[in-house]
């Protein structure tokens, strides 16, 4: 059996059967955009006409997605994941915490699955202690089975939809992070005189169930600033792209490079990435089951107007410089360009955008790239695009029951407890605290 976790893992204990941790992630897309959407409208994000949204269909979709995430808990995924987007027709969770609170009712009644909110875009909350409060609520509600995600947020979400000044976004993010963490780690009421936030009475109730705080994950693209921020704080870094494991390889290599330089800790659970997965009875059946829904996702859901894709100042000049070079010299075709040009089902598979096929095919692929990436956490996109409820349920069940057991434990020597919830029980408080403050496993050399 793959990745059975002890209910209350002891600090430093080696989980001998530790495998890749699988999170069932749901973006909650609108599944019925018109056929000519991408020709008729400039963008799925920021500007898609609200009149395309039918609340009656939206009602159905929301409840389908909650059912799918609850089913994921029944199936024993390591986590269920939700995230935050604004003015976005493929990500209908302006407040992921609302869904987190629904899911927490089921999460508290079992001991395998954690709740991952990946996450709240800190600069969008005023004051940011709102995030400290709501995440503490979720941590308490789930019984300490909660992971806190702190993204900067995309430029579409933060600058365009929410109007945050791009020149201030990162400063606001870092200040909000410091404030939230101080809120969680300080017992006494304190005052905060920041550049963007002034509070005389910081004293939110409740405080988190996990001590000193829930595990923190940082989703991000490939910027050195984000790697360093995650590494220096001992947070788990998640590369959330829709381009799959081959594109993730370049980012993860850079990440592990930085980790080797900064602290040498190669714990695979300090990193994660996202992958679209489609499982069916056979490889051929996977294509007939899923192709139209995958194409809906790539053609409509990734149809983002370049004019609102990146505000000036959203990326640092350092990151900009690195990105422009590969864009201008043509050494690497961007994934978005490749997708726009059109790829066959086989190409999508071979290039890693999707992992599709029979359970054996999918399991083999996972074993192969998980070791190469050395990544312990995988955000699985098992619902994607227009995929209907019944098909998502099939995908979830086949992955959990037919693929997961075939993915052999490959990170057995590593301890996940610093990056995963400790739960909440008689002695969990101490165990969690110790786990989160002492994570110094001697690191074997990574790579060759």
């Amino acid at each position: 059996m793959a990745s059975a976790r002890a209910f209350f893992p002891c600090a430093g204990a080696l989980a001998k059967d530790a495998a890749v941790k699988f999170v069932s992630f749901n973006l909650m897309p609108y599944r019925e955009l018109p056929d000519d959407f991408e020709e008729k409208y400039p963008s799925v994000w920021v500007t898609p006409p609200k009149t395309l949204y039918d609340p009656k269909r939206g009602h159905r979709f929301y409840h389908d997605y909650v059912d799918e995430l609850e089913f994921s808990i029944d199936l024993g995924f390591d986590g269920v994941g939700v995230n935050e987007h604004h003015s976005n027709a493929y990500g209908l969770m302006p407040s992921p915490n609302l869904f987190g609170s629904i899911l927490s009712r089921k999460i508290r009644s079992q001991d395998k699955t954690s709740l991952l909110v990946l996450g709240n875009s800190l600069a969008l909350y005023n004051p940011p202690i709102r995030v400290a409060e709501e995440f503490a609520m979720l941590d308490v509600l789930t019984g300490g089975r909660f992971i806190a995600g702190f993204p900067v947020g995309t430029s579409m979400d933060t600058n365009y939809a929410y109007g945050v000044n791009p020149a201030e976004l990162r400063e606001r993010y870092y200040e909000a992070h410091d404030l939230v963490m101080k809120t969680w780690t300080t017992d006494e009421l304190f005052m905060w005189n920041g550049k963007y936030n002034q509070l005389r009475y910081v004293n939110p109730w409740p405080r988190p169930a996990q001590r000193p705080h829930p595990p923190v994950w940082i989703p991000g693209g490939g910027s050195v600033e984000t790697y360093d921020f995650a590494i220096n704080h001992k947070y788990s870094f998640s590369y959330l792209s829709f381009f799959g494991h081959q594109y993730a390889q370049k980012v993860m290599d850079q990440f592990w490079d930085r980790a080797a330089k900064l602290d040498g800790d190669m714990n695979p659970y300090r990193a994660g990435f996202a992958q679209i997965v489609c499982v069916s009875e056979t490889d051929a059946k996977a294509q007939s089951d899923y192709e139209e829904h995958v194409r809906y996702f790539f053609n409509k859901c990734l149809h983002v107007d370049p004019r609102v894709a990146e505000a000036p100042g959203y990326r640092t000049v350092k990151s900009l410089r690195a990105g422009l070079r590969s864009q201008f010299d043509g050494t690497m075709k961007s994934a978005a360009v490749l997708l726009k040009e059109g790829l066959s089902w086989q190409e999508l598979n071979e290039m890693g955008f999707i992992v599709a096929g029979s359970p054996q095919t999918v399991a083999d692929r996972f074993k192969e790239f998980s070791e190469k990436l050395h990544v312990g956490n995988v955000m699985l996109l098992l619902q994607i695009g227009s995929m209907p409820h019944w098909l998502t349920m099939k995908n979830l069940q086949l992955f959990a029951e037919e693929v997961m057991p075939k993915v052999q434990p490959i990170f057995g020597e590593w301890d996940a407890s610093h990056y995963w919830p400790s739960g909440f029980g008689a002695d969990a408080e101490e165990a969690g605290e110790e786990a989160r403050t002492t994570s110094k496993e001697p690191a074997p050399a990574f790579g060759d």
């Binding site: 370049p306 000036p312 070079r325």
Partner: protein
Amino acid sequence: MAQPKDQLIPANDRVTFQVKVAGQGEPVVFLHGAGGLLWDPFLDALSDQFTVYAPFLPGTGNSTGLENILGFWDLCLAYYDLFDKLGLESASVVGHSLGGMIAAELAATDQSRVRRLGLICPAGLWLDETPIPDIFAMSPAELLAHVVADVDSPLGKMMQQVPSDIDALMEVTIARVQNMQAAAKFLWPIPDKGLKHRAYRIKAPTLLVWGKQDKLIPPAYADEFKRLIPDAQVTLIDNASHLVTLEQTAQVIEALSGFLAKQPAAALA
């Protein structure tokens, strides 16, 4: 073309300005727009009659300290500090677009520092019925079509040129993003930061110069500025959009030089 001298001047502990200086005669401070500062034929012609001081907005060129500026108040104080360092007790100030918005704030905040005020299609006001398009959500071609009256004119064609060398292209792109980033700090998401509440304080005689075909900040805004500023007159210039200083350089210079050369009423009395 006169070669301007570059000076690097720390205005205070937090902000340092790169300033281009050229010409002779009475001082005129020129504040550039969101596209950044280039020593162009307009500034060259202006420096024939005046001593032109053209500072780069913090965060552009070699001016630094953008991150230390919290808002317009800080920005005004940094410019006053720069005036002190340049030995300008008071000076005429000319600003284009974003620079016009800053110039108007400078004139409204400390009335003693701005002698005469030249506002060339300034930003800073907002009319719900005539919204200013979002320059931070336009393709380069769309932006160009908004700021020049004729994209097929020599100026329009020149502005469509892209360097073929990758290194040059990188540097041009990065400079453009840095200019826009600094501009966005003061214009995002809507270029109205309260000038309408302060414009009544502008005591300097004011000339508003506007391209008749301005598609970025339409001439309706000239009327609004004139309504709010006590001593203001408007010169509309035909066959010009937002880059009026480059599209109709001679006409803008003529209007400005006549206006700036006038003696203040107090001195005549």
